[in-house]
């Protein structure tokens, strides 16, 4: 029972983290029809900037603000100078250019902060455990869940209740029509890109105390993010939310329960050998199954 509660919480924590990444990526894709492989680099930059500010000032709140501001600024600069030219081009060009950016970002980070990983400590206020469902759980991890859910609520309000959100929805539906109606679509694009970048930066910062902050740390999470938006339906923010929770749940649960289940079925050595192997493949198999039956994803954007 206690293991179960902890695993569910862990999977929700991974889920909200994936949502922070996939919300931005799916919005950018939905509106600009653009795949940004360097989205993981923004995650990495958020973690690095946050870690540095936290170490300098000792304030985690300042670290959050700095990480979001830095990644948004970086997003705006890169969007205005380079990525904007790629919106109208082939997806292949977009992938290769953002791949080039990703290589550059990794090396710049390595140049500025050095090759060895950075570690930041959990803020003192959250450095304990809390009791939840009769179970001790690290307070910081629980805070990530709360922060993530707050972002989900905020994003929901932004998209469904504000003028900017209305334009984002309209842009995702038919960008050229929105432009024809006199909306500055270039500004809208930049705003969406900055929003996505900020969310990725926030995600990177939130996870920073739990992992080692190092060059290339954004790439594994980028791949999971791609799986999330494929499962959820590309361009759909609702899909990104449910997709993130599903992937988080399966990825976490598979690693734990697959092992336990297989150990009962097979002898110890076999179970230990194939358990992690199957667990690591499970979300990709899920993705293949989803695509085979619903190529548009589970929660596709409704057009027209």
């Amino acid at each position: 029972m206690s293991l179960f509660v902890a695993q569910i919480l862990n999977s929700i924590q991974l889920g909200v983290l994936l949502f922070l990444m996939s919300a931005g990526l799916t919005l950018i894709f939905g509106i600009m029809n653009f795949l940004n492989l360097a989205h993981g680099s923004l995650f990495m930059v958020g973690a690095y900037v946050g870690a540095t500010v936290a170490a300098k000032t000792g304030s985690f709140a300042a670290a959050i603000a700095a990480a979001i501001a830095a990644t948004m600024l970086l997003g705006v600069i890169v969007e205005r100078t380079l990525l904007r030219q790629l919106y109208a081009r082939d997806h292949l060009d977009q992938v290769l250019c953002t791949f080039g950016l990703l290589l550059i970002a990794n090396e710049v980070v390595r140049y500025i902060w050095g090759p060895s990983p950075l570690f930041i400590s959990v803020p003192a206020m959250l450095d304990g455990t809390i009791r939840i469902f009769g179970q001790n759980y690290p307070a910081y991890r629980f805070a990530i869940i709360l922060a993530g859910l707050a972002v989900v609520a905020g994003l929901y309000l932004l998209i469904s209740r504000t003028r900017l959100g209305m334009l984002i929805r309209a842009g995702a539906n038919n960008a050229s029509m929105v432009s024809a109606l006199g909306v500055n679509i270039k500004f809208l694009n930049t705003a969406v890109f900055a929003l996505g970048a900020g969310l990725a930066g926030l995600g990177g910062l939130l996870i920073a105390p739990l992992v080692s902050v190092q060059p290339g740390m954004g790439e594994p999470i980028l791949i999971l993010t791609l799986v999330v938006i494929v499962i959820g339906g590309i361009g759909s923010i609702r899909g990104a939310f449910y997709g993130a929770l599903i992937v988080g749940l399966i990825d976490t649960a598979a690693r734990v329960y697959m092992q336990i289940g297989l150990l009962q079925l097979f002898e110890r050595s076999v179970g230990q050998a194939i358990g992690p192997a199957i667990a690591s493949m499970l979300i990709y198999i899920l993705m293949a199954v989803v695509l085979a039956f619903k190529p548009q994803g589970l929660f596709p954007v409704k057009h027209g």
Partner: protein
């Protein structure tokens, strides 16, 4: 569209490069620099993989960002079977092609229906699946990979002799080029290229494009499996890093750099890309030693800039440019 007729200049260029590649072991032995043999063996292996990838990328319009998976399958077939004492190279190759075929059929059946961005993301995700699977194989070295003690025993060909291995790789590359060159103008190739430019029209004409594209995908994957098999024999190593997504991206860059709509372009691209990589990672500057060191340390960033510049300015690639100059379109 692809240039079908044999044009003078590009045929000359391609022929010259083939001849130069054929001469590498002779020259390297003569000047007493045998490391060139290994270096150019590696380049030709990636060229082989890039030519295979180009079958779906350039001619089929399917942007696969996951072909490194098949290189990994080829390499691990050698590594795993050797671990269990099976060193017969023909059996290893057979096993590699069988496993690669099953994977390519299964993945291909899911992906070839998809288009554009989804295709890119799914192929990438499947390749990552293979990568993480390889990492969990602790028996076979896990994250570090595994050194292969004995190279594949091919009987007729002695792989422990680098010159023999070189010419086997050369023959595989030349054979594949010859086959691709023939097949893109065949009925099969025409259907593939037709469904790239307008799939609906091909369907209306009555071609089962799904089957054709699936076959193209499987063949393209199998070329990469062979490349992986050769790579394991060259490096005597099977490692998850062979199927990192970086490798898949590099293969695409080789294809683009050389010229995506040409048969021979990927070979030029692989040569240019890997020689540049080699040059950058050993970069020295006599006048500005600090600058040389900086480039040397962060050469991947220079590569990143190079990739962006190539994509933004030189869409037809180096060899594609030669084709254009030679043929004039």
């Amino acid at each position: 569209m692809a240039k079908l007729e044999i044009r003078r200049l590009n045929t000359w260029v391609a022929g010259l490069i083939i001849l130069l590649l054929a001469a590498v072991p002779v020259v390297a032995t003569a000047i007493g620099a045998p490391f060139y043999i290994a270096q150019y063996s590696r380049i030709m292996i990636y060229a082989l993989a890039a030519v295979g990838l180009n079958l779906v990328l350039g001619f089929g319009g399917m942007t696969s960002l996951g072909h490194a998976l098949y290189i990994g399958i080829g390499a691990y077939s050698v590594g795993i079977l050797e671990f269990h004492g099976l060193t017969n190279g023909w059996l290893q190759l057979l096993a590699a092609l069988a496993v690669g075929g099953v994977f390519a059929l299964a993945i291909g059946a899911v992906v070839v229906r998809l288009k554009g961005m989804t295709f890119i993301m799914i192929t990438l995700a499947f390749a990552q699946m293979g990568y993480f699977l390889a990492i969990t194989l602790r028996t076979y070295g896990g994250e570090d990979g595994r050194a292969i003690g004995t190279r594949s025993q091919m009987y007729l060909f002695d792989f422990s002799n680098p010159i023999v291995l070189y010419y086997v790789i050369f023959a595989c590359l030349a054979g594949t080029l010859w086959w691709v060159n023939r097949s893109i103008t065949s009925r099969f190739g025409m259907v593939i290229r037709g469904s790239k430019s307008n799939e609906r029209r091909m369907l209306a004409l009555g071609f089962p494009t799904f089957r054709y594209k699936l076959v193209a995908y499987v063949i393209s994957a199998q070329v990469c499996v062979v490349a992986g098999f050769l790579l394991a024999n060259l490096t005597q190593y099977a490692s998850p890093s062979f199927m990192q997504w970086i490798v898949s991206a590099e293969l695409i860059i080789m294809v683009i750099l050389g010229g995506m709509f040409t048969v021979f372009g990927p070979v030029v691209g692989a040569l240019a890309f890997l020689l540049l990589e080699e040059w950058l990672s050993n970069f020295r500057s006599a006048t500005f030693p600090a600058f040389g060191e900086l480039v040397n340390e962060h050469w991947l960033a220079v590569l990143g800039v190079f990739v962006i510049v190539v994509v933004l300015t030189a869409r037809n690639g180096v060899y594609g440019y030669v084709c254009r100059r030679g043929g004039g379109q």
